[in-house]
Amino acid sequence: MARAAEHGRQLREERERRRFGRAFAWLVGGLVMLAAIFTVLGALQGPKLEQAQVDAERVTQQSGQQLRLFMNQPVDAIDASALTVEPSAVASVSVQGDLVVVQFDERLRHGTEYTVRLEGVGAPSRPSTSTIEHRFTTAGASLLYVDRAESGDDEVLRAAVDGAGRGEVVHRAPGIQHAVPVEGVLVVARDGEGGTSVLESVDARSGRTETLRLPAGVRVDRVIAPGAGTTIALVLSPASGATGAESLAPRTLALLDIGGDRQVRPLADLDGEPLTALGAWFLPDGALVVHTVDETLVRLDPAAPEALLPVGAYPTVHGVSSDGGRVSAADSFGGVALDLATGEEERLNPSLVEGEVAFAGETQLTASGLRVAKVAVADAVSGAFATVLVADDGGGEARVIARTIENRGSLGPVLLSPNDQYVVVEVTPDVAAAVGDGREVEERPTSITLAVIDLASGQLVRTLEGFGAVWGVE
């Protein structure tokens, strides 16, 4: 009996031992099978995209911006032919370990979905390759502008190019003369006593306003903001009606670091005399190009402004191309494009407009060399001259992109968006009926309107009642 019980216990233990052994074997077998399956699947797979970074705003404002693609493993060098960008944009590709960098050598269009595709991306010592694709949408364009009130406070507004209405009010104050954004701060010049100006900085988030000290009795003729950084340039003149004005030459150029000591520093020319300016423009590299009152064109570094580099002499300077490479100017023989890197000049002979000879006025240059110019053309019927805005590629026939109704109006300053996608122009719809706003500084007609035009299509995309446009992003 005892032997039978012992035998039964041994059988049971043996059965349980076999059960454990079977479970162990099945588990090992199953895991080996799974490992084999995922080994094969992994071997058939190429590198994968883990994360992508791109600044959707800056990529529309500056060339050389990067799309950084972080891969799950180091990848082999990628040939330039493997890269495609839709819509088309000039770009290059480089590899640093597991980081693939796509650099855009031009500014991208606003509010556009781009698809970047890299074919045949492989890992070192592995045959499998993969196609990497990343989509991103660039920031839409917006405008900052001034809308003056007939009574009460003037307003600074921000309006999206593809939006509707007046836009969003970002600041209200009486007698606004100029307004420019600088690194999260709005710098506003407004009317002071006796034709003077008061300069203020307005924090974009809190709305807190601080006064920036100006020399006594001066008027701000221009406020020039850099593409990056906090040092702005000011063109200052003594106010005619001011009392106790500090000694200052008319149109003195000064620098003011609103992120630093906030001291206005008038600049001097090579003779030690005050540097006086008709206009000034910041280049993308931070340098300042100044058109002096004595009609020379100089270049200076705001960090070391005592070293001036003369680059030309022109009675008129219209501006700097959006890539900062060329200056649009004019002399007694007509328009000139000056290459800032080489010093070479190119004559800008206006093309025919609707078959008629045109006489060029203010001309702005795009990075690709297109000229956006205000030209005067004779009306074939009346014989009177009309001002129209044209896009001229120098091919002999310019394309009209803006004109006023029945040529009754006039066109004011022209400003290209940083990526040359849009152009905004101040329009006075009817000169004969125009009434000035009566301001002592920067007087404008009450009917002044900003017209935003898509440069490629010539479509009018937005009109806004105001002036003093500055480009930004939404």
Partner: protein, 347 residues
């Protein structure tokens, strides 16, 4: 006035305890001296230029020092938490409520590490203690395998090193839980659980008991010395090995190895087995390899290493039979490899 008499047994126990303490003090001192020495060497040779150490040696010292500096605060934190739990929190507090269902019970035990935040070195005596208190051998195994990974210090250091990148942290936690419970289930089928243990287990328990005596302050100091003596030398050796591998092995070899889905996993598991670095600091140790090795291989390292390495096998051999350890090693290795391969495929 009562007279205290010392028996030969208590005298021998006291001597053994002193020898044990002295060994730990020497080891902790060596570890600290190693850390100080590496940092001093880095500081004195960095500015020497061409006249100083060769480039490879400079790189090795820099890499090793960076691992130490990154991980040292977390090691000290781990030791402090370990002391807090083992000395200052009542033992029975963790054992009060456990589900009766075997799966639920094992799942709950695998989370014990959340309240016992010590690395794998400290878990072996704790696992022995669990068996002594009436838990089954498979349950002690579940705790032993899960606790090094599923504990707050390891989670903290892994998050500090990788954040939520590539799902490494999540895969590590899920992997640790899965491996512990699968093995717990497997060994729960064993007809003779006591045969999973070694005959010396009772002796080990007795020695472990001997170290719980004394005041709480004495236990705190004793534990601090013991933990430091295990962790500090491991940290110095691990940091030097990590630096040496990166300096000695050509980068293209590392890249080729690291970008292969299978070889990267196997290489990382082999590395984890050899270097035996503690789970509290292994995330910092492996961080420099993250740019050349696939995420799945990093996960395999972080899951396999805390459970199976040279040091852990030596420690576990004090408790479990050799046959048991072979079976555990096979299953853990396969599960870690599958986990790594799945992560490599999915991420």
């Amino acid at each position: 006035m009562p007279v205290a008499l010392e028996t030969p047994q208590t005298r021998e126990a006291r001597r053994a305890s002193r020898r044990w303490g002295a060994r730990h003090l020497v080891a902790a001192g060596l570890g600290l001296a190693g850390i100080a020495g590496l940092i001093a060497l880095r500081a004195t040779t960095a500015g020497a230029g061409p006249a100083g150490l060769p480039d490879a040696a400079q790189d090795l010292i820099t890499l090793a020092t960076s691992v130490i500096i990154e991980s040292l605060p977390f090691i000290v934190l781990g030791i402090a938490l370990s002391i807090l739990v083992q000395v200052w929190i009542p033992e029975q507090w963790l054992l009060r409520i456990l589900p009766r269902n075997p799966w639920g019970r094992r799942a709950a035990i695998s989370l014990f590490g959340m309240f016992l935040p010590v690395c794998e070195c400290g878990n072996v005596p704790l696992a022995r203690g669990i068996v002594r208190r009436g838990f089954t051998v498979p349950e002690s195994m579940v705790f032993l395998l899960a606790a090094p990974i599923l504990n707050p210090v390891t989670i903290l250091t892994t998050h500090a090193a990788f954040g939520f990148d590539d799902g490494i942290l999540v895969a590590r936690l899920l992997g640790g839980f899965l491996i512990a419970n699968v093995l717990g289930w497997l060994f729960s089928l064993h007809p003779e659980p006591e045969r999973l243990l070694t005959g010396r287990f009772a002796e080990q328990c007795r020695i472990d008991d001997g170290h719980q005596h004394g005041t709480r302050a004495e236990q705190t100091i004793d534990l601090f010395v013991r933990e430091s003596s295990i962790l500090m030398p491991a940290l110095v050796i691990g940091a030097i090995v990590a630096g040496a591998v990166q300096v000695a092995v050509p980068r293209d070899v590392l890249v080729a190895l690291g970008s292969d889905p299978l070889w990267s996993v196997l290489a990382m598991m082999a590395l984890a087995f050899i270097i035996s670095v503690c789970s509290n600091v292994d995330a910092f140790f492996i961080l420099p390899f993250a740019s050349t090795f696939l995420p799945g291989s990093i996960v395999a390292f972080l899951v396999f290493g805390p459970i199976i390495d040279i040091k852990m096998l030596a420690l576990m051999r004090t408790t479990y039979a050799a046959r048991t350890l072979v079976q555990v090693t096979v299953i853990v290795a396969l599960l870690s490899a599958v986990l790594g391969l799945v992560v490599n495929y999915v991420v």
